[in-house]
């Protein structure tokens, strides 16, 4: 059948959907559906869903709602601590999506009326939808540490949403004494970007090794183990003296002795059994939940995340609302930008099928997370995922896992691929 090829779609992106329709038939038959899909959140998940719904069926009207005029990517934001990038280089705008005929509204959704399928924006404008895609990312639990609160994140930045927080943490790193200590408080599972805290420690250590070699990074971890641990520890040993007395990085599991309080004045953290850790820079990454709008709209359960039906990404709690990205409960798929993109594409296909009264095909998700240990030492973890007959999601056992080749040439190649994969993923989501 004469359908719009991907190449044509990319070429003709700047032309209105009306023109596209004259030239080519949409993927799903002739009946112009004229349905309206609203996508909330212009991050990796939302941007991809908006783009791919238009790709699969350009007769569908798509509106994207996002408060920020430019989006700063968390992926690659750890590289800033090594001096390898800037906030400017991490920024994308929404012109690429507008070129596909997506209406981009710069505003915040403050209420979702699921029964009437209507949204209210902070401008008080209302919008009706046939189907809603929600990709609002994460929010934080601020009450997990006695003595800590949201306001204190201005002194003890999480930098887990890229932007001013990233800049603030970097300034603190650069300003601390030459023999100073950075405490990275890693969050408990599940959280956005499982290898993120460890990549951050690596990138900070890379900079400290050149500028403050007597400094130290201590990772305080509520978990017993972490993502790509063997690869990180081997890399830290090779580059940062890990395991020796002068190591730039120390990792401490507090699985049986969790942090309970913060003394903000003394920049000191105390554990259940009274152990104390003091630092010059405290990177406190709080426990996480689905974004606020998802929780306020009744889309989350007691886990703090949004249960979904894997086949369609539709909420298990409210109809006509599809949740993707970090906010959704897709375990064991990790919360990553790559996974958000993969979930968004499966969701886009499902929505286009539903709007065209077609049955939904089985999703095939994928995830890959690259991390840099130095600019020339990259590591990765990859997996494919499938939905089972009992509606559970599982990793495909025959595949995946962490980097197998750990000779210097392979690690250097993986560092190069890390950068290409970041840029190409960004293009796939936003351009």
């Amino acid at each position: 059948m004469a359908r719009l090829s991907r190449r044509d779609f990319l070429k003709t992106g700047a032309i209105s959907s009306f023109t596209l329709l004259n030239g080519c038939q949409p993927l799903f038959g002739k009946a112009a559906s004229k349905a309206h899909v609203v996508v909330v959140g212009g991050g990796f998940g939302g941007a991809t869903a908006a783009k791919y719904i238009r790709y699969f069926d350009p007769t569908i009207r798509v509106t994207l709602i996002e408060p920020k005029a430019k989006y700063i990517t968390c992926p690659a934001s750890n590289w800033l601590f090594a001096g390898l990038t800037t906030l400017d280089q991490l920024s994308v705008n929404y012109q690429g999506l507008k070129n596909y005929g997506i209406e981009v509204v710069c505003d915040t959704v403050i209420q979702i009326n699921a029964e009437q399928r209507r949204l209210t924006l902070s401008s008080q404008q209302t919008l009706n939808y046939d189907r809603l895609v929600l990709s609002p990312g994460i929010d934080f639990r601020w009450d997990s540490l006695h003595g800590f609160n949201q306001a204190l994140s201005q002194r003890f930045p999480h930098a887990w949403q890229a932007g001013p927080q990233t800049e603030l943490l970097n300034q603190q790193l650069q300003a601390m004494p030459n023999n100073g200590t950075v405490l990275i408080c890693a969050p408990p599972d599940p959280y956005r970007c499982p290898p993120g805290p460890y990549e951050r420690a690596s990138m900070m250590a890379y900079w400290l090794k050149q500028h403050k070699p007597w400094a130290k990074i201590i990772i305080l971890d509520p978990k017993r183990s972490f993502s790509k641990q063997a690869l990180f520890e081997a890399g830290w040993k090779q580059h940062y003296g890990y395991g020796s007395e002068n190591s730039l990085i120390e990792w401490i599991s507090l699985a049986d002795n969790q942090l309970v309080s913060l003394d903000a004045e003394r920049k000191t953290l105390t554990t259940e059994f009274g152990d104390r850790f003091s630092g010059d820079v405290l990177n406190i990454i709080p426990p996480q939940t689905a974004g606020k709008i998802a929780i306020e709209s009744g889309l989350s359960n007691s886990s703090g995340w949004c249960p979904i039906q894997p086949i369609s990404a539709e909420s298990s709690l409210l109809p006509f609302i599809h949740v993707i990205g970090d906010a959704g409960h897709y375990a064991p798929i990790p919360k990553s930008a790559f996974a958000a993109n993969s979930e968004a594409k499966a969701c886009a296909l499902a929505i286009v099928s539903l709007l065209n009264q077609q049955a939904i095909s089985s999703p095939a998700w994928m995830n890959t997370c690259y991390s840099l240990i130095t600019p020339d030492h990259g590591i990765s973890v990859a997996n494919g995922y499938q939905v089972n007959a009992d509606n559970s999601i599982t990793a495909i056992k025959s595949a995946g896992g962490i980097s197998q080749k750990t000779d210097p040439a392979s690690l250097a190649l993986e560092a190069i691929y890390t950068q290409s994969a970041y840029l190409n993923l960004r293009t796939d989501c936003f351009d």
Partner: protein, 97 residues
């Protein structure tokens, strides 16, 4: 539409239908490849766009990755997730893009 195999209804999902379907789900798998192999690759991208690759070339490359016949860092771990029939369907879909 040939790769667009449809499940008749949610109610009819059985493990059997899932297995036979997963075999040939070319498009759903292949959409993930664009993340890295973007048709509009970044300048100096070390990961090539797959635009213009023939079905035969794609299929052979993926089978070589899957059965460890090529030296590679990442692709063997990805290719091992799929049956040979799925690989063939992925190659068919991508060669038409």
């Amino acid at each position: 539409m040939k790769l667009w195999l449809l499940i008749a209804s949610f109610g009819m999902l059985s493990s059997a239908s899932f297995n036979s379907y997963a075999e040939l789900n070319g498009q759903n798998i292949a959409l993930n490849c664009f993340n890295c192999h973007n048709p509009k690759p970044a300048a100096n991208s070390a990961i090539p766009s797959l635009t213009g690759y023939s079905q035969q070339r794609l299929q052979q490359a993926l089978l070589d990755f899957k059965y460890d016949k090529t030296n590679a860092t990442l692709m063997p771990r990805i290719a091992k997730a799929y049956s040979d029939a799925e690989i063939s369907a992925v190659a068919a879909y991508l060669s038409q893009q």
